[in-house]
């Protein structure tokens, strides 16, 4: 599985100005609610924040993968926020997070959840120049093209 195959242009943004994790996640969840992709926004935000308390989802190379499972969701929701200024995602993090890959999965499809997580990890692992390219672009189609370029590299 590749992220660019399931990522829609209206699901990647480079204009988030919030500077802490809670505000960033809240902004994304509100956007998804406005798009009628989710309804129980407060509950989902709480679940995401609870998950971060169990252990940060910042996984290195300036990226984080906040995620939770939602009962009744028909298909996974993938949203990518690029944070130009970067945020201190977790107290213990040594580096700022610039790439937030949010994954909301149905609660009965653990294998698909693992595959999306694996695709995100593969992308993040590939290169530090990915972040540089992403933060300097704002056009959604262009952002997806950059992700695609890195995902099909070395294959």
């Amino acid at each position: 599985m590749k992220l660019y195959n399931i990522l829609k242009p209206d699901m990647i943004k480079n204009d988030c100005l919030n500077t802490n994790i809670e505000a960033v996640l809240k902004e994304i969840i509100q956007y998804l609610k406005e798009k009628k992709m989710i309804t129980n926004d407060k509950q989902i935000l709480n679940k995401l924040l609870e998950r971060e308390k169990l252990g940060s989802t910042s996984i290195g190379n300036h990226a984080a993968v906040p995620h939770t499972k939602i009962k009744g969701l028909k298909e996974p929701i993938l949203f990518i926020a690029i944070l130009k200024k970067g945020i201190q995602y977790h107290d213990k993090d040594k580096e700022l997070v610039h790439l937030v890959i949010l994954i909301l999965s149905p609660n009965d499809t653990p294998i698909i959840h693992l595959q999306i997580l694996a695709a995100a990890a593969s992308l993040i692992k590939k290169s530090n120049t990915l972040i540089e390219e992403l933060v300097s672009n704002t056009n959604s189609e262009e952002l997806i093209n950059i992700i695609k370029k890195y995902e099909i590299k070395d294959e």
Binding site: L54, G55, T57, I59, G60, N61, V65, H67, P110, I111, H113, L114, Q115, L117, A118, A120, A121, S122, I124, K125
Partner: protein, 89 residues
């Protein structure tokens, strides 16, 4: 070199929390530790590496360690798998 294969039995497979626990444990050993799944071999000390496997319940993983504490490393990691990453107790 110490080596052992184990079947993943926790419901969620090697998801983020389990992978974090596994890499954290692997980092406590001096030995190099690897996970082999299908054609892929990853560093067990790397959270990102483990996540790229997308290994789920029912899949077999081979743990390989090489170094001074290789036996203990494999033993403790097998224990973590057997305890289902302490998430279903």
């Amino acid at each position: 070199m110490s080596k052992k294969e184990i079947e993943i039995t926790n419901k969620l497979g090697l998801h983020a929390r389990a992978a974090a626990k596994l890499s954290h444990l692997a980092n406590t050993f001096n030995s190099d530790v690897f996970l082999i799944y299908n054609e892929d071999k990853v560093n067990a000390k790397s959270l990102l590496g483990i996540l790229t496997l997308a290994a789920s319940i029912g899949n077999n993983i081979t743990i390989v360690a090489k170094g001074k504490d290789e036996k203990k490393a494999v033993e403790k990691i097998i224990e973590l798998f057997e305890n289902k990453f302490n998430e279903e107790n």
